[in-house]
Amino acid sequence: MTDCERIQELIPWYASGTLTEQESREVTAHLVSCEACQEELALALRLKRRVEADSQHLPRIPDAAWQRVAAEAFGRPIAKIDVGSFLLGFSFGANRKRGRIPVYGDLRVLGRKVRLFNVEREEST
């Protein structure tokens, strides 16, 4: 593989700024004296701009998706009790999740939550 071939392989990631420092220095040093590789860089930069512009037209995840993810991850809340404040407090609650009822307790310190317990029971039918 020639120097130019090796450098041209790296150029897209040089354009996106994700090469290691050493690789980046090597590409810069080569570019100074190589017109063919300068053209490759110009092409990679055009491509980068085009992808960024195209991406503006991509759809976005609907807002409602969070509700579905939360229900799947945590279950649907059926009871919750909060005691204390933002600085120090406790939460106890129960969710309904795929025929089971996880009952949990959280300790809240300075806004951070630590789960104290999480017990799952079969939902009685």
């Binding site: 790296l10 969070w66 993810v69 799947e72």
Partner: protein
């Protein structure tokens, strides 16, 4: 603002607020990555949802050997390919909770996606997206795709040649 790694460790402790923050950081990126692979809004939404639930359930197993984004995109890729296989076999179980998107709106958006990336086969499109939209290194992309770095570079090389004609 917590780093991605700190967030994952909080999610591993079942911190629901941390998971919400993680969702806000990654769900849309995962959705767009899935859309790059599947070109289907409804399926991409399912992939994004399944990926984020897998993040919630699997945060304890994240060992920090890769970047958090690399880990999450790796999960998303597996989910997207599972989805493709299920679609091909026709045995996908529809998620009854999902709202059916407006087909007319989906079609309009799909048409708005520019033609340049569409000219590429999916393996090349994926490398171009992860490089220029997600700003990932070739090493990270190689980790997500589970292929040698040389193959990542070669896919990019062929994508560039093809796009040079479109962009000329």
């Amino acid at each position: 603002m917590d780093s991605d790694r700190t967030l994952v460790s909080r999610v591993a402790e079942a911190d629901e607020d941390a998971f919400r923050e993680m969702y806000d950081r990654f769900a849309d990126r995962v959705f767009r990555y899935a859309f790059t692979l599947l070109r289907h809004e409804h399926l991409s939404e399912e992939v994004a949802q399944e990926t984020m639930v897998a993040v919630w359930r699997g945060a304890k197993r994240f060992q920090g050997r890769s970047k958090v984004s690399t880990w999450i995109f790796g999960i998303a890729r597996n989910k997207a390919f599972d989805m493709m296989r299920r679609e091909k076999r026709g045995d996908r179980t529809p998620d009854l909770d999902l709202v059916t998107p407006d087909p007319a709106a989906s079609l309009l958006r799909a048409e708005a996606v520019s033609g340049a990336m569409e000219t590429l086969p999916e393996p090349q499109r994926e490398v171009v997206f992860l490089t220029f939209y997600e700003g990932l290194s070739y090493g990270e992309i190689s980790g997500i795709l589970g292929i040698p770095e040389g193959t990542v570079k070669s896919r990019m090389f062929h994508a560039k040649r093809k796009l040079a004609e479109v962009l000329a």
